[in-house]
Amino acid sequence: MTIFATTILGIWALLSLLSLLLPMAGNEIALESMFVAPMHEGYVLGSDELGRSLALRLVDGAGISLLVAVVSVGISTLLGTALGILAGFYGGWVDRIVSRLIEVFLAFPGLLLAIAMAGMLGPGIENVVIALSLMGWVGFARLARNQVLSLKQREHVLAAVALGQTNLNVMRLHLLPLLMAPLLVEASFGVASAVIAEAGLSFLGLGVQPPQASWGSMIREGVRYLLVAPHLVLVPGLALSLVVLSANLLGDALRDRLDVTSHSKR
């Protein structure tokens, strides 16, 4: 299963690189060959209502989803971990404020907060990244805070404090390294949810704007032609589900391998 997952994720990464080499190739319109079925007229995955190659659009979509997932999970991890460590380490009013913030953000189930923020910010790829980062930091903050609360009682941390290490060094050198394993597990589940979320926002018309392809917007546009060309919806959905499945499998495998017992999932 792990081999399957890493293979799929590897292909995803390769397609993303390819999309950098062939910028916007999927936007080429060929009205003489609309709705070509897969494996016909030289179109491997068929073409859409404007005769654009579905295979090339899939490559463009891979680039978008990887970019959004990596950047937004990266920002969420940095922001969430920093706040979580500070809250767990200092306790007191810092912890009270951060914990309240976490509770308030957790009161917005699923994609709701991202939809609301993307709705206010307006569509666009940067705004999707902002919305997903502001939604995603909570999971990391909660994880880091809970871990630090128990880790700071460990002897090596007490020893470091007793030896007069600065607080910053205790957090950086003695706490952060121990957080890496659970954070890595959380991050791979985070990638899975970010990929679904980006596609979801684009499906709702709040993500990337036409003609730019995203797997979510491909599904959105394809739904209109479900009767005549079901491959327009089948192909991007399949790609999306495979990538999300693989990121989830990788998270499971990492959790078992790194022996991370507590794992919080939204």
Binding site: M117, M120, L204, V223, L234
Partner: protein, 303 residues
Amino acid sequence: MTKRLLDTSIVLFGVSTLVFFLTALIPGDPVDVLLGENAAAADRAALRQQMGLDQPVFARWIDYLGGVAQGDLGDSLLRSRSVAALIAERFPATLQLALSAFAVVLLVATPLGTLAAYQKGRVLDQTASVFALLGQSIPNFWLGPMLVLVFSIGMGWLPVSGAQAPGSIILPALTLGFSLAAVSMRMLRASLLEITNQDFLRTAKAKGASGLRIAMRHALPNALVPVTTLLGLQLGALLAGAVITEVVFAWPGIGSLLIESIQQRDYPLIQGVVLVIAGSYVLLNLVTDLLLYWLDPRIRESA
């Protein structure tokens, strides 16, 4: 319990505040966004006043919280109605969808989860875990169209979208319930398996109770505590998940209202819908906790 109630009100206060400050994310001046930069000065001033933008932020914030506390969510900018009335009109459809999806979850997860636990490691259990994995990975905005493709276009059994035709609730409810059914099934299986190793089950077995009696009388009630927690959390999540499902099926609930209001930049309406969904979620969590308090004597003792 008093502490729990206090916590809930603090969270609700925080949620309303966050929803109020969502408007800070609007790029530039909202009046420019809505009217364009070349609008007449009088129109601009009128809209500014209607949105309360002539007031300082702090005053508007207090005003908004005061309104929310009295159930006043402001007025829609484009439809001459109050936000609360618009939401009240569309909320029943969403509730109907969420409850139907919830029924799907219960009907699928309870038998599958129980069977998977009793057949641990066998074919049925493995099939169930594949189902669980798919539930986590297939997004509902893809599952929905696929179900339409098979059952509406292919078989011609069910309507494609809308809420008028008989049976139109079936596909939206399946779409919305699918992933939650998968998660709940795993959860029920795990908690049943954990309970199988408990002392009181061994005692029941030693006393010669039948397998069925042990399952129904001893194992299931104890497995219900974690499952109730999950279901309570998830019923609220269904309200949020309904946003995408409603768009897929053109279901006339508050989810599609939210997306309409975003497209029309009707900011007070966006805020209102988001606040109602998040608020319902928080209150459902509170109800779940109260339910657990009543269900589980251990929680009652420790509280």
